[in-house]
């Protein structure tokens, strides 16, 4: 047993988090910043943060993840990090020549009270920011929220610091991407294009974190939302925020700053959430839903109907990030499954409220988020009420192996398989992929444990 010390009996903890279902803000900010074209994320803290975040993102994407650090030492920690950040800005523009540096803070710089707004203003005043180049920032203290919070904060920073309202509204629709894969962002754009909806998607890590092998390392790959696009978001007719936790704050910021009205939607994972997204996009764009999208939806429902017996009543444990867990839970219910145990380390009332709505269809479900809502607790719940399927990031493999549970990797980070960054989980195509994956592991398990006389050819 890989997790041999996890007892079945659940005791409330207050001090200790074990096997967390979250990580810290800055990595989210770094990921979001990579979704701006020509951007170098910068970690204002000690070297370790940057190194850890780059490593984790690299393992998940198997792609270059470029980011710099203020390389705090003890001196900087005592006297403040301004000098380090100013020096960083200078070095970065001369050596790496980005369009924009996206600075995020860390628990270190937050604890000592560095004011990023003031420092970047000083950098600008001191002429350290070349003409036509930008430094944006987000405050992302590791001791608040989770990696999802950091993502939301950096995306909000993009909106706040770039969006400009010229007073002339355009036909453009902002789509604020919640934390999703490059493949998902590509799919969102593809759906909008099919619908002939003029959108700007931000951030956008497609063609950044799924760059082709060309024999050349493109320091700034072709993808990412451009600064011009970000500026134009202030004139857009509306925003659709895909995720009430990771995307909505940026939409609110745009509304506040530039009076861009917004609608918040669940991330379009699974059938119903995608339905709502398609409807909302169609309405926002004033364009009918094209037949090809309706047909794609119909193919998903077709498989759901044809394979319903394999889903129905199966108990599922899942863990991960709010904007993914919410629509996924709903999708499991649409599939006739029983989402039985759910944890997410990310705190938040908005999240809790929405989960409560969704779980009205699953009054039996255990759900907890925030403090001590960790994988240790999830594992204990599973020991108390076994499940047929586990869904979550790579760390779930330890529970899956110990408890012999079919396991679908979903969420962040996925460190031991490829595919997530290339094949979308959002939209109807993503729903089909989820169906294939879930069916695959359930059927593999059936094939594995079947008695010889019960081994099925046709399924």
């Amino acid at each position: 047993m890989l997790l041999r010390h996890t007892p079945t009996e659940v005791k409330e903890r207050e001090g200790l988090t074990i096997n967390p279902a979250k990580t810290c803000q800055p990595i989210g900010a770094m990921y979001a910043a990579l979704g701006i074209h020509g951007c170098l994320p910068h970690s204002h803290g000690s070297q370790g943060c940057c190194s850890y975040h780059r490593s984790t993102l690299t393992r998940h994407y198997k792609e270059p993840v470029m980011a710099s650090t203020s390389s705090f030492t003890e001196g900087a920690s005592v006297f403040g990090g301004q000098a380090n950040l100013l020096a960083s800005i200078e070095t970065i523009f001369s050596v790496y020549d980005p369009e924009v540096i996206a600075v995020h803070s860390t628990c270190l710089s937050e604890t000592i009270g560095d004011d990023l707004q003031q420092i970047t203003k000083k950098a600008s005043d001191d002429g350290k920011i070349p003409d036509g180049k930008y430094v944006i920032y987000a405050s992302t203290p590791s001791f608040v929220g989770s990696h999802i919070t950091g993502y939301a904060n950096m995306v909000t920073g993009m909106a706040e610091q770039f969006a400009v309202s010229t007073g002339e509204k355009t036909e453009q629709i902002n789509i604020v991407a919640g934390w999703m894969e490059p493949s998902d962002m590509r799919e969102i754009k593809s759906i909008a294009s099919l619908m002939d909806a003029k959108i700007v998607l931000f951030p956008d890590t497609s063609d950044v974190l799924d760059a082709p092998q060309t024999g050349k390392h493109e320091f700034y790959p072709k993808g990412g939302v451009t600064i011009d696009q970000l500026r134009s978001t202030g004139d857009s007719k509306c925003s659709l925020a895909l995720g009430c936790v990771s995307a909505e704050p940026a939409a609110i910021a745009l509304d506040k700053k530039c009076k861009v009205p917004f609608e918040t939607l669940d991330m379009p994972i699974g059938l119903s959430a995608t339905d709502r997204f398609i409807m909302a996009l169609s309405k926002a764009a004033g364009k009918p839903v094209p037949a090809s999208i309706t047909a794609e939806r119909g193919r998903v429902v077709d498989v759901m109907a044809d394979m319903e017996q394999y889903f129905y009543g199966k108990k599922v444990a899942l863990f991960g990030d709010p904007d993914q867990i919410m629509p996924l839970t709903e999708f499991l219910l649409d599939l006739g499954m029983r989402p039985t145990h759910i944890v997410s380390g990310t705190p938040g009332l908005r999240f809790e409220k929405r989960m409560k709505e969704i779980l009205e269809r699953a009054p039996y479900a255990n759900f907890r988020n925030g403090a001590q809502a960790d994988m240790f607790l999830l594992h204990q719940w599973i020991k108390n009420e076994p499940v047929d399927l586990l869904i979550g990031n790579t760390y779930g493999k330890y529970i899956a192996r110990d408890e012999n549970i079919p396991f679908v990797r979903f969420g962040f980070p996925i460190l031991d398989r490829v595919g997530h960054s290339y094949f979308p989980s959002v939209g109807y195509s993503g729903a089909m992929r989820l169906i294939e994956k879930i069916l695959g592991v359930l059927m593999d398990q059936q094939d594995r444990v079947a008695l010889e006389e019960k081994f099925e050819l046709v399924m």
Partner: protein, 543 residues
């Protein structure tokens, strides 16, 4: 060692590496970029701050302390005191393998423990939460030891993890609780964390268990973290040779073993950088000499086993070591003979860690490959130039902040394993007792030695040298591969290994052969991107 490949003029290359930097940066970096001469061994600026804004390979003190040194020991509950991230990122990512003797034995290596510090704790202090966490860990697991690791905010807000640990140790009674002030900002790299870890392990663990250990030739393995099972292979060889391993620092190890380490008669050091402190302190306190060894590379393994036998001076042991070498090496040779024609003359670069960039050159050499350039991520000058340079190293502000333990001979346990005369005799016979000659003396002339290489420099080096393989870590892996050059991870071994000893050497040969000769590198260009791609207009001839 003879040059197998023509090395380009290194001075021109050095120029290229730094000419894009702002003047101050260029000046600083130029001291860390050195053209090697194994005879004269030029000075390498090392263990200095990374320039802010530079994309570096380096991590932090916490990573060195918790991640590298303490992490691998299976039965310590390692609680990270701080926000969640630090503990999360160090969760199982270093591949420190461990194999409990019984399936029910303690093993927390798969767990991640954190106090998950929140804003209120940053504002009002986190000691109380820490103590609750220690109590909860104790109640859940009843471990032999709980270690506390401080992350950046902890020192700044004034939480005293040492006091909290002492209090809880007292309260719990049967559990050793101790803390580390390894905040990420300490020192300039992981190296600070190693030192802090060594101090803590020495103070709180070594010497706690005076149980005599059976065995005639007893040693500790220092600086072997059992990544990819490296320690398993060394353990296999020790067992075959009749050498008793008292404690490993710290791969595949246990609290009880480390507490018992002072009962050994020799310390062999693998990773000089991360653990030499421990060798020195144990020598001073207990009279145990240390010796640098290297189990990476078949020849190095044989040499290291012979050195150990020589140290103990026992003929039977020497004979057994020779027998083991005679048994193991033919299998290795057979593989080398098969593979070397495909690797001979190829080139490598190694920029990684604090010892591996040195050790792995032996394996490449066995494959007939030349190391064009190498450097460490967090080493000190002695790792490059040899320990003779130690007295000349200036202590800067960053190093001064790391505690230097005052160690003296233990009134009861100090027992010199060898007399001064014996030590002198061993040295005369070529055993480098308490010494390490560094990397540069073994690298060829005109090769480049670069400390704390930056991303920019790596790319330039690849552009200019076009090496056949590049060795570094996960952050560099896909960057380099995007350039069409395979990158071998020497922290995680690309999830392969072991690479120590004879079996490890064979694993490495095969992996390198596979990487440098993989068909995929020839598929990078699409046919329509290739020069001479046929014109677009096709002509068809009807039959």
């Amino acid at each position: 060692m003879e040059a197998k490949v023509l090395i380009p003029d290194p001075s021109r290359i050095k120029e290229e590496l730094i000419n894009k930097y702002p003047a101050k940066v260029a000046k600083k970096r130029s001291k860390s970029i050195v053209i090697n001469d194994p005879e004269t061994v030029p000075e390498v600026q090392a263990n200095v701050r990374t320039v802010p804004g530079i994309i570096t390979q380096r991590g932090c003190s916490y990573a060195g302390c918790k991640g590298v040194v303490l992490g691998p020991t299976r039965d310590i509950v390692n609680i990270v005191h701080g926000p969640i991230g630090c503990s999360f990122y160090a969760w199982l990512t270093r591949r420190n393998q461990t194999r409990p003797e019984k399936p029910t034995d303690e093993n927390y290596i798969t767990y991640c423990f954190s106090t998950d510090m929140q804003e209120e704790h940053v504002v009002f202090g986190g000691e109380k939460k820490l103590k609750v966490a220690i109590q909860e860990a104790y109640d859940l697991f009843h471990p032999k030891a709980i270690a506390i690791f401080s992350t950046c905010p902890v020192g700044l807000i004034g939480d005293d993890v040492h006091a909290a640990s002492r209090e809880m140790k007292e309260k719990l009674g049967d559990c050793n609780v101790f803390g580390f002030s390894c905040e990420g900002y300490r020192g300039v790299s992981q190296s600070a964390g190693h030192h802090i870890a060594n101090n803590g392990v020495f103070k709180h663990m070594v010497g706690n268990n005076n149980e005599p250990k059976a065995g005639k030739f007893k040693l500790n393995l220092l600086g072997e973290y059992n990544i990819g099972g490296d320690a398993f292979e060394i353990e296999r060889l020790f067992e075959k040779c009749g050498i008793t391993l008292v404690a490993s620092f710290s791969g595949n190890s246990t609290v009880r073993a480390i507490e018992n380490a002072h009962m050994a008669d020799l310390n062999v050091i693998l990773c000089h950088r991360s653990i030499n402190y421990m060798g020195d302190m144990m020598e001073t306190k207990y009279g145990i000499p240390w010796m640098k060894v290297n189990f990476v590379g078949a020849e190095s393994t044989s040499k290291s086993l012979r050195k150990i036998a020589e140290y103990f001076g026992d003929e039977e042991l020497k004979a057994r070591v020779e027998a083991v070498i005679a048994e193991e090496t033919p299998k290795v040779q057979a593989i080398i003979d098969e593979i070397r024609p495909r690797t001979e003359g190829k080139t490598a670069m190694l920029f990684v860690g604090g010892s591996r960039a040195h050790h792995y050159q032996d394996l490449f050499s066995e494959l007939g490959m030349t190391t064009l350039a190498a450097g460490y991520e967090f080493a000190h000058r002695d790792d490059y130039e040899g320990r003779e340079v130690l007295p000349k190293i200036k202590i800067d502000a960053d190093s001064k902040n790391i505690e230097e333990l005052k160690v003296s001979a233990d009134p009861e346990l100090y027992k010199p394993r060898k007399s001064e005369a014996e030590l002198e005799e061993l040295k005369a016979r070529g055993l480098e007792i308490n010494g390490y000659e560094g990397m540069m003396k073994q690298m060829q002339k005109k090769s480049l030695v670069i400390d704390d290489v930056s991303h920019y420099e790596s790319e330039k080096l690849i552009e200019l040298y076009k090496p056949d393989i590049f060795c570094a870590g996960i952050k560099e892996k896909y960057v380099v591969q995007k350039m069409g050059v395979p990158l071998k991870q020497l922290h995680s071994y690309d999830y392969g290994g072991p690479y120590t000893g004879y079996e490890g050497a064979v694993n490495f040969y095969k992996d390198i052969d596979r990487m440098v000769n993989n068909p995929v590198w020839k598929l990078i260009k699409a046919p329509w991107e290739k020069a001479g791609a046929e014109s677009l207009e096709a002509s068809y001839v009807a039959s």
